[in-house]
Amino acid sequence: MIASLWQYVLSGVVDGAIFALVAAGFVLIYQVTGLINFAQGEFAMIGAMTAASLATAGMPILPAAGLAMLAAAVVGALFYLLAIRPARAATGVTLIFITLGLDVALRGLALFVWGTNPLSLGAFSSGNAIQLFGGALPPQAMWVLGSDVIVFAALYLFFRHTYAGTAVRAAVANPPIASTFGIPLRTFAFWSFVVAAAIGGLGGVMIAPITSATYDMGLTLGLAGFVAAVLGGLDSLPGALVGGFVLGIVEHVAGGLWSTGWEQGVGFLILVLVLVLRPQGLLGRAARRA
């Protein structure tokens, strides 16, 4: 009983690390633009599908992963330039609907490009499962956790130790005043979409060897990312990391002890509880008007 519980926790950690990547994208865009990007999960789908089809065509895994992130970043850039920027005068609800439209459109586009069949992507490295206190982690787990470390460390260094990062934080804290100091808000908004899409794409690449890649994987993954982001606090990057792991572990433990069909339900139950009891999330600052 305890042994299998521990195994659920380990599996949850792997999923959680991926949720954290998707959540990081939400938080980035939300911090910089105040917008919840409902299409975030589709960036992960594009990453996964691109990497899987390139790898199937014979490309080595690492360049394929890099190109997949690039593809997601390009989609993020185009989305900002073609849909968000022209509508920048719009109110919150209109922008929500626009990102919702993109979510649906990207899923339809993926159907055109890749069809309904799942694509598989081989594990990044072969080798035996890693034994840890009687539980097992797949070799892929090291890649997933490693990319979490790199992404979150890079974001931390950028925001805390670079001039541009400080400028972004100023823009988040007070957009009008930051703007009078010559901080280019729109440029930052653009880059937040690009970077969020690339990170989301990386999340997709990482999960593809575990679940295989399908055109409709974005919704589930995106929703898990939302829950993780809200759980940790929408305005907190460390929160995204914590929220991702908590969600991954809770989903797997609940799914293992109860039934896997309820996994998603449990995730949303957490979301609802957080929204009611602590809308700012575990690590977020006092509730911002959202």
Partner: protein
């Protein structure tokens, strides 16, 4: 602006629409009659959604779940307790209302971004329940759902179309009276600014809750008719994509317009049919939910180019 167009008499036009449908169904193939029914039922859901989103200024991305609750309630009562769909329709609306009432204590504390997220999540949780609860069919759904009857006459496709549009007429008439009453003006006040509305003595929380529940009543009744008309339902009939479709109908017709709901439902269903037939000719590889690509693009384009919907253009034209 939008009020001008919607000040057209709701009752008479609604009745004229029912009469039109009642004539048309005798001259078109039953496939199109079925589509007409679908348009009517979707329009009904969208009317309710427009009250909540357009007038009260809120957002719901989970309306398909209420449609599903209505469908499952009526179908389950009909199959398990042999209760006629006429009662089932009322029970469907009632259960959807109860679910909305319970959820409102969670959802309506939130606004915009988080409200959108919460309704989306609740919609998916309800879909998980449809999938997991074996009593109501689980993932394989319910089949052979009894149809509506009058005496010994069992409804055919024509009768369903007339029933659906009679409900639309009643729904538009009721909603029309509502939005022209102080209730409707209070909703608009809430959409402009909740704090300001409260300062003027509008009980914002209660009105939002009542509107949310009312939107679920519309969706639940429509869902109940849908279950009997389709005679088969499963959880995929009420998924997230359908909720997005309702939003699209709302946006296309114009959020703050009741006829806009009818126009939006017509456009979206017709568009879906055209895409389904035309796209495979151009791109033979297209299959599955590929229409969602176009629906998404249209949604984005509408919001950028015509954010207040088709009816806003019509009312401008009337003024000119």
């Amino acid at each position: 602006m939008t009020l001008r167009f919607s000040s057209v008499a709701y009752g008479p036009i609604g009745l004229a629409l029912v009469a039109f449908v009642a004539v048309v169904v005798w001259f078109v193939p039953s496939y199109y009659t079925g589509l007409l029914t679908l348009i009517g039922l979707y329009a009904l859901v969208t009317i309710g959604l427009n009250l909540f989103m357009g007038y009260a200024g809120q957002v719901s991305l989970g309306q398909a779940a209420f449609f599903g609750v209505g469908a499952y309630t009526s179908a389950t009562f009909a199959l398990r307790a042999h209760i006629t769909p006429w009662i089932g329709m009322i029970l469907g609306a009632l259960v959807a209302a109860l679910v909305a009432y319970a959820l409102s204590f969670v959802a309506l504390r939130l606004r915009e971004n988080l409200l959108a997220l919460a309704t989306l999540a609740l919609g998916i949780v309800i879909n998980v329940v449809f999938n997991q609860w074996d009593f109501i069919g689980g993932s394989s759904g319910l089949k052979d759902i009894p149809g509506f009857t009058i005496g010994s006459y069992t409804f055919d496709q024509r009768a369903y179309a007339i029933l659906a549009w009679a409900l639309v007429a009643a729904g538009v008439w009721f909603a029309g009276n509502l939005v022209r009453s102080s209730f409707g003006r209070s909703l608009i006040a809430i959409s402009v600014g909740e704090l300001g509305a409260q300062a003027l003595g509008v009980h914002a929380e209660r009105l939002k809750r009542q509107t949310f529940v009312l939107s679920a009543v519309y969706a639940g009744a429509a869902g109940a008719v849908y279950a009997s008309q389709a005679s088969y339902i499963d959880p995929t009939s009420f998924n997230f994509l359908l909720s997005v479709n309702f939003v699209l109908m709302s946006v296309i017709g114009g959020l703050r317009s009741l006829w806009g709901a009818v126009i939006g439902a017509t456009v979206v269903v017709a568009l879906g049919q055209i895409l389904q037939n035309v796209v495979p000719l151009v791109l033979p590889s297209a299959r599955g939910d590929f229409q969602s690509f176009f629906l998404g693009i249209i949604l984005i384009a509408m919001l950028i180019l015509l954010p207040r919907g088709i009816t806003s253009r019509l009312s401008e034209a009337r003024r000119a």
